[in-house]
Assembly symmetry: C2
Homo-oligomer: 219 residues x 2
Amino acid sequence: MKPETLVKTWIVEDHDTFRRSLQRLCTPERGLAIAPAFANAETMLATLKAAPDSQKPDVLLLDVGLPGRGGLEIIADVHQHAPQCRIVILTVFEDEEKIGRAISAGASGYLLKTSRAETVVEAIHEAAQGGSPMSPSVAASVVKMLAKLTKPAAQPVSLSPREHDLLKLLVEGLTAKEIAERMQVSIHTTSTHTRNLFTKLNVHSRAAAVARALKDRLV
Amino acid sequence: MKPETLVKTWIVEDHDTFRRSLQRLCTPERGLAIAPAFANAETMLATLKAAPDSQKPDVLLLDVGLPGRGGLEIIADVHQHAPQCRIVILTVFEDEEKIGRAISAGASGYLLKTSRAETVVEAIHEAAQGGSPMSPSVAASVVKMLAKLTKPAAQPVSLSPREHDLLKLLVEGLTAKEIAERMQVSIHTTSTHTRNLFTKLNVHSRAAAVARALKDRLV
DNA sequence: CGTCACGTCACCAAAATAGGCGAGGAAGGC
DNA sequence: GCCTTCCTCGCCTATTTTGGTGACGTGACG
């Protein structure tokens, strides 16, 4: 894993002291190129847009300290102008809300500012190699979110094969007539299946059935 | 972070050599209690069921080498008999499918067998403290999955406040009448909103609107 | 002041759906 | 054999939904 070339890192951090500390971490001895550092995202973006590809960063350390509008929107812009750049969030917030939004926006890593200097350096290298460095508690949040998002039905329902087919087509938004065609049966049959399906799902409308199906991952 | 008590770790690993290697890692000098090790999940579960709470493990290192039925079902059983136990998967597989299913099942961590001994020990401690140790590439997969699951609408739609309200109620499976009550308006109004909503969402039925809303996370 | 988006309400008709009933055949378990 | 589940098809009606049109008041914006 010895770095053949220095990892180009950019830094966005509004606190002067902390920004300089980060900047001092980036030394050739640590396998990192001298890092441009910016006090706000706008100047960084302007520089990024003007930079030739060869000078664009491999990793961007991004502080998203400001609540509300703060840096998450920036991520999309960075991806647009430097698609290969891995973005590592560096912040004091560790609530699932913020973590989830950062990852949705395209962040690769998420470090807390309580991380040790050595950890940050490791994280930069890890990110540059395609990994996703995260502080332990952040990793736990991410795993928790993923588990929640993929958890199956609370009370599992056993649908017959045809009912399952029907449900999938319902979720596609087809009408009864279209479903009958797709399933190669009479519209009366789909009607029967639909009624049975409603009973099993404990709903009284197609819309509710679709909601149940998608929420409980029945499809 | 000094461990005041030794972390009780159990090991399930079918390869004799590797199992003994893991077992040798668990020493008081490393902050770990002498670890019971099992060649298969069944005997581990039997032992777990018979064990008093005070002897139940803090962390379970679980090999899920066998493809198909292998260990993921075990996770639920372990959670049932030792709710506080953190489960760390230890395997050679690193495809998103397996990782996702392990996490859905309730695993806290996921290590590749290529991990160094020192890393495994760190992971055990991290898991015991509520973290989620993962090999870098696994972390990247997890982040990628989470990003995919939470990515917003492909083509964002701008709904008016009332339309958004309506959509939320639709997703709850309410009928037009119920929605009218909830929104404190006439049923004719909900009808108008519904039509406009359909146009914006480019659908022609409530079911399709619900599908679009949930798939594109418009709610 | 005009315009536009929005929310509200209404009337209308064609179409779809929800839901109840019965009934035959095929497959599988006991 | 009997029973159950599932799939299939049909008939029925009340209700809902879809989609079109028009209309009024409000507030924001230029």
